[in-house]
Structures are given as C-alpha cells and as structure tokens.
C-alpha cells in the first residue's frame, strides 16, 4: 500500500515536474528574460483563466516569461503541494487554498511574507484575514469570492409560479410542487463525493445567525455538531430530502457536471452548490447560464436568511524562490491582485462571484446567479464559511454526508461521527484544548 502511494506520488510529481511545458521551453526564452513557473490546479476552466492571466501579464511585463504548470485538484493536489514544499521543489509562484488549509502548509516556514506590498492595502478585509498567518500576509486573491447555496432552474420556477424560498419549510413546499410536476426536486451527485457536503457547509450562515459564538466554541472544543441543533440541521436536511424521495434517480452515480447540466436544463429543480460552478455551467449546458438562478440556503428564520461565502484561493511564493525569480514572482502576484488582473480573469471565463480587490468591478454581463449572490453581499446578508473562521475541518465529511444522503446513516449519528473526525484533525494540528 505504502509502495503504491509512493508510486502514485512520484508519478504525480513527474506529471507536474516533467511536463513538456517546463522541460522543452527554456530554449524559447529570449535573452535577458526571467523565466518563472506558475503552478495551479488542472480544472480545465481554471487552466483557461491561468493562460489568459499569463498572457495579460506577459504583455505588460516583457522581461518575464511565465510557464504554466498544473497539478490535480482535491487531496491528491494537496499532497503534491505539501511534498514539493517539504522538498523545496516548489514552482516559483503557485495557487493554493486560503483559510484553514493554508495553515496546514505552514506558511511561516514555507512561504515568503508580502505584508509590505502596495496591493495588500487594496484587499477586502475578510480575504486579507484568510491569507494571513502570525500577522503576516502571504497571498493575493485568485479570482472572485463565491457563495454556497442552491442553484435553481428559473424557467421551471416561472412555469410553476414558485417564489425563492427564505425558510426551509418554504423550500420543502416548493420541492413538493416540483415533484408533483414530474421533475426531480433536488439534484445530488455522489459520484463526486465532495459535492455532497454543500447542504452542510453552506448552511453555516444559518448556524452563525442562530449561534454567533459557534465558530469560536467549535475551535476551542466547546461546541459540537451533535449537540448544537443549528449545526446539526445541515445533516437533518440531507436526511429529510432523502427520505422524502426528492433526489434525482441517479443521485448515487451522477457526477458534478451532470448536476450542473440537470439544473440548467430543468431536469432538476435545485442543485445545492457553490457558485464557483457558474463558469462550468457553460460547458455542462451551453447557452443555459441565464436559466440558472441562485439563492442562499434557507434556514428557520426568514429575517436572518443569508449566504455563506467562500473566499478565493491565494497566489503564494515559496521561500525557495530567490533572486530575479523572486522579483518576477512578486510582480506576477501583484498583477493578479490588480484591476488588470481581475479583467484578465473575467475575460477567460464567466465569473462565479464578486472580486475581493477594491479596485475591481464586476462586468455588466455576469450570469444572473452572480447577480443574485451579489445582492446578498451588498445587503450585508453574508458570513464566511466555517473553514475560514476555524482551522479545523474534518477530512471525512464528504463520506459522511454521502452516507446520510444515501440513507445509510442517520443525521444524529452522522453528526456524532463528524465530531470524532473533527477531533482527530484538531489533534493533528496541535490545537490547544483537544
């Protein structure tokens, strides 16, 4: 097993480290140019954005040649980043998560602090907080902030005369009507397990509204999912929807792209998702982006309804980048956080939410779902997701939510099991009081 893990890892290292782009291209670099590599995840939409960003950057900075390098997404990519950092073999500048996952790559030991750079003053305060460790800022934002909630099919809502629900009860009554009309009310896509967590994670605004101290108490081992009704609600919702038979028939084998296509084409009424899915909507169901709307996850209290926000990932420079390459990497990092960088980002793919740089504005032609999300943020009805307020997120949540959504485990049991998972993570991170 260990051998296989190692083999996979070396294979993955080779995929990124030995890709043709980074090997054969040094000849092309013109004299006097500094060449740097930029490592980001291999999601096709993201690669398109990265290419556009590099093109815009190189047009302005002719002395720098940026090579694109990609890594897998998810935990596999995590391991790759950690291994390359630990062996001082990291790309000159790279994209990686902000918030709790950033803490796991030990920024103090591995990354170059950039608190003194001019662009730092232009950052949205919440974003600045999630790329900060020990009072030092480490990253610039890679793209817009996104919101977790529910995508809904607008033509279907119009046809059935439905209103955007503000409470869970309203949502369930909408679901009943959608089911009566012969359409699957809620789409789930358990072939890609991470998608199953949204109903729990995106419910955090409601948790924070009911129990403002939850994030802090949770971090200090004082609040538990199993004993906090508001926190357990996410698991309850999953159980309730499964029991009511509101899922699409192929929920166990459907994939993320199937989910996006289903809600865009009206084969499903709702798809709980984070708005970073908006750029992918266009590939999953071409020309249907305007048929998809977005609303925050409904809770118990309509007056406190609001959206849970995910901050963008960051662009970081490892300590192993030095000299000319460091100067070039810093230029690239700053460019990403500039108005030109935002424009380049928006030119390559539809945006999934508003930017977190003050000098950036949303173009007028953004998708309706983004406008829906911005309305919540402008009205102040938004909270950051738990993973940005607490360093602890249990790694097995996605398996547990698949179990609840498939009827294998009850919501109460699942909350208890997740508490155990959280405990393990907290101990690993060496957090006081666990």
């Amino acid at each position: 097993m260990r051998k296989l893990g190692a083999a996979l890892l070396t294979g993955a290292l080779c995929l990124s480290g030995c890709s043709a782009g980074s090997l054969g291209s040094s000849d092309e670099t013109a004299a006097g140019q500094t060449q740097i590599t930029f490592l980001t995840n291999n999601d096709p939409a993201n690669v398109k954005v990265a290419e556009a960003m590099i093109a815009a950057f190189e047009a302005k900075n002719t002395g720098v040649d940026v090579k694109l390098d990609t890594r897998p997404q998810g935990s596999e990519g995590d391991n790759l980043v950690k291994t390359r950092l630990a062996t001082a073999d990291m790309a000159d500048v790279f994209e990686y998560n902000s918030g709790s996952l950033l803490q796991a790559i030990a920024p103090q030991t591995n990354l170059t602090p950039v608190s003194g750079e001019a662009w730092v003053g232009d950052l949205d305060p919440v974003f600045k907080q999630v790329v900060t460790a020990n009072n030092e800022v480490y990253g610039s934002p890679w793209g817009p902030a996104v919101g977790g909630g529910i995508f809904y099919n607008k033509p279907l809502y119009t046809k059935l005369g439905l209103q955007v629900p503000k409470t869970w009860a309203d949502f369930m009554s909408n679901n009943a009507k959608i089911k009566a009309a012969g359409v699957a009310p809620v789409q789930q896509t358990y072939s890609e397990t991470w998608t199953s967590q949204v109903l729990v994670l995106a419910d955090f605004h409601n948790v924070a509204a009911a129990d403002p101290g939850f994030a802090e108490n949770y971090t200090n081992n004082k609040a538990k999912y199993a004993t906090t009704p508001a926190a357990q609600a996410g698991f309850q919702h999953l159980e309730e929807l499964h029991k009511a038979g509101y899922w699409n028939k192929d929920f166990a084998s459907a994939k993320y792209n199937d989910g996006l296509a289903a809600v865009a084409e009206g084969k499903a009424g709702h798809y709980p998702m984070i708005t970073f899915g908006i750029p992918a909507l266009d590939t999953a169901a071409p020309g249907k982006v305007n048929d998809v709307g977005f609303f925050a996850l409904p809770g118990t209290d309509a007056s406190k309804n609001g959206v849970t926000l995910w901050e963008p990932s960051g662009i970081y420079i490892p300590k192993s980048t030095e000299g000319d390459k460091l100067a070039a990497a810093k230029k690239f990092q700053a460019f990403v956080a500039s108005a030109e960088g935002c424009t380049a980002y928006g030119s390559a793919a539809p945006l999934g939410g508003p930017f977190v740089v003050k000098s950036c504005t949303l173009p007028a032609d953004v998708a309706p779902a983004v406008k829906d999300l911005s309305a919540y943020i402008d009205a102040g009805q938004a909270s950051p997701a738990l993973e940005f307020l607490s360093p602890i997120k249990g790694p097995a949540l996605e398996q547990i939510t698949v179990e609840v959504g498939s009827g294998i485990r009850s919501a109460g049991d699942a909350a208890k099991l997740y508490d155990e998972d959280v405990k393990k993570q907290a101990q690993q991170l060496g957090i006081q009081g666990w």
């Binding site: 097993m1 260990r2 296989l4 893990g5 935990s75 596999e76 995590d78 391991n79 950690k82 291994t83 950092l85 630990a86 796991a104 030990a106 030991t109 591995n110 358990y190 072939s191 397990t193 192929d250 166990a252 084998s253 790694p395 097995a396 398996q399 547990i400 698949v402 179990e403 498939s406 294998i408 485990r409 099991l417 155990e420 393990k424 993570q425 101990q427 690993q428 060496g430």
Partner: protein, 293 residues
C-alpha cells in the same frame, strides 16, 4: 537443528567486502525506511515537523469508526476473492489442460487480464457497471433482469469490486493450477480409468489431492493479495458509497490523504502485523499437513 543463520555466516563462500554492495542497498532502501516507519508511527507528523506522542496513533487508529467496518470488509474481500480464485482457477485449469482446440491461445486469453493495468481495469469496469448506462445492466435488462446498482449500491459495492478482482486475478491462479495438474503423472489417471473410476472420482481422488501444493500457493497468494488490496478498490469506489467498501488499505490511505502521516504510518504497521497474523498460521498449517503425507 542448527540455526540456519549461523550456518550461512560460517560457510559464506564470499569475503565480507563482497557483501558490502548488497548490504548497502539493503540498509539504505529497506532497513532505514522500515525503522523510520516504526518511528514515525509514534509521532504526529505533518511532513514539516514531528512530535513524539507514544502509542497515541495506535489508540486513535483502533478508535477510527471506519476501521471496524474496514477490518470486516478486508476479511470478506480477502476470503471471497481467494475462495473464488481457487474454485474458478481449478475449473479453468482443468479445461485448459484438456486436449482442446486452440489451447495455447485460450491459455493466453485467460492470463491476459493479469497483464492489464489494475487502474485501467477499475476505470473500465466503473463504466461497464454504471447502474443505468453500463453494458452489464443493459444486457441483464434484455433478459428481463433489473441488475443491482453495483458500485453505488451500499450492499453490492464491495462484492462488485471483489468480482472484478477475481476476473483480473484468476489467470494467475489458473497458471499455478495448470503447472500443478501437468506435474501429475498420466499413469495415475490411466490406472484409475482401468479400475473403473468415474471422471468425478479421478478429479476428486487424484487431481485435487496431488495439486494441493498449487492450492496452497493460490490460497496464500490471493489471501495476502486480498488483505492488502488497494488500487482496484480506490479506482472503482474510493471506499464508497460512504464507507461501505472501505478496507484497511483504503482507510490507511485516507489518513495519509488527510495529512495524518503519523497515523497512516501506524495503520500500515497494523496492516503489516495483520497480514502476518493471518498468513503465517495458514502457512504453517498447510506445511504441517504436507509433512504428514
């Protein structure tokens, strides 16, 4: 009996310097990593730094909720795959040692899946076993049978992977059995025939007992292989849905993936001991019976 180690040391035909290259390779690539693995299993290790925590990782690993079910799944998986490989391997070997048309070609075909990449096999069967669009359920559908959802049905997921494992691995069992059967002198069969033994009797009384060394090899190899199986399960279900097809190896891998490096190293030590605990007694048991014959 003399200690075999001592005998070897005294009677080594080579001077010591001759053993240095081998010793060096052994130390650097096997001894040091093994000792380090035991050490890291006692630490909380983030790749960047480590903290000695004694046996806490082992305590944590045995408290792991997925472990109890994972342990059970591992045993089920190992026994099912091993059992089916013994039965099917024997049946195929009897077929492929018979004087049939195109025997050489058919032998190659039976062995072919062994040579294919396990990940490739896993991904292919993931498509074939898709509950609605997969070829398997479509064919069952023509026969009027509603097939199970295979990999995404909690009750079938583990067995589905086990079936694919048997398909892929039975070729090796067949080859071992063929060697066993071909080494049985033909006179025995002729004599039995003259005495009027039926086909079933000849199989039961000659082939089966005389191919026993082959059976022992097949059982041991496939049982150990089943206990530490990971690649196929990971390619097909990643232990899901939920934890329903999680085995020891995938539980350990997930700890590693989550960044619990010390914990997953402890898990590997546990898996190592488990394989020894199951395989060694079996090995002794089979060998003792051989001595009695």
């Amino acid at each position: 009996m003399k200690d075999p180690g001592l005998v070897m040391l005294r009677k080594s035909p080579y001077p010591y310097w001759f053993l240095i290259p081998g010793g060096l390779v052994f130390t650097v690539f096997f001894l040091v990593p093994s000792v380090m693995a035991f050490w890291f299993s006692l630490t909380r290790w983030t790749l960047f730094d480590q903290e000695f925590i004694g046996l806490d990782n082992y305590v944590q690993f045995f408290r792991e909720p997925a472990l109890a079910s994972g342990l059970w799944h591992t045993l089920v998986y190992a026994v099912v795959t091993s059992g089916l490989k013994v039965i099917l391997g024997m049946a195929l070997a009897v077929l492929l040692t018979a004087p049939i048309l195109g025997r050489g070609f058919m032998r190659s075909v039976a062995f072919f899946p062994v040579l294919v990449s396990t990940i490739g096999v896993g991904l292919t069967f993931q498509v074939l076993m898709h509950p609605t669009e997969g070829v398997i359920n479509q064919i069952l559908g023509w026969a009027g049978i509603t097939g199970p959802a295979w990999l995404v049905d909690p009750d079938w997921a583990l067995l589905s992977v086990a079936f694919v494992d048997v398909w892929q691995g039975v070729g090796l069992a067949t080859v071992i059995y063929m060697a066993g059967i071909l080494s049985i002198p033909g006179e025995y069969f002729e004599a039995a025939k003259v005495d009027g033994a039926s086909a079933w009797h000849r199989f039961r009384r000659i082939t089966l007992p005389l191919a026993k060394p082959a059976t022992v090899s097949v059982i041991l190899l496939s049982l150990i292989g089943g206990l530490r199986k990971f690649d196929l399960i990971w390619a097909m279900t990643k232990g899901g849905p939920g934890f329903t097809s999680d085995v020891m190896a995938s539980v350990i891998y997930k700890q590693y993936q989550a960044g619990f490096y010390g914990l997953s190293t402890a898990g590997n030590v546990v898996l190592f001991l488990l394989v020894i605990l199951i395989a060694l007694p079996l090995f002794w048991f089979f060998n003792r019976k051989d001595d009695n014959q």
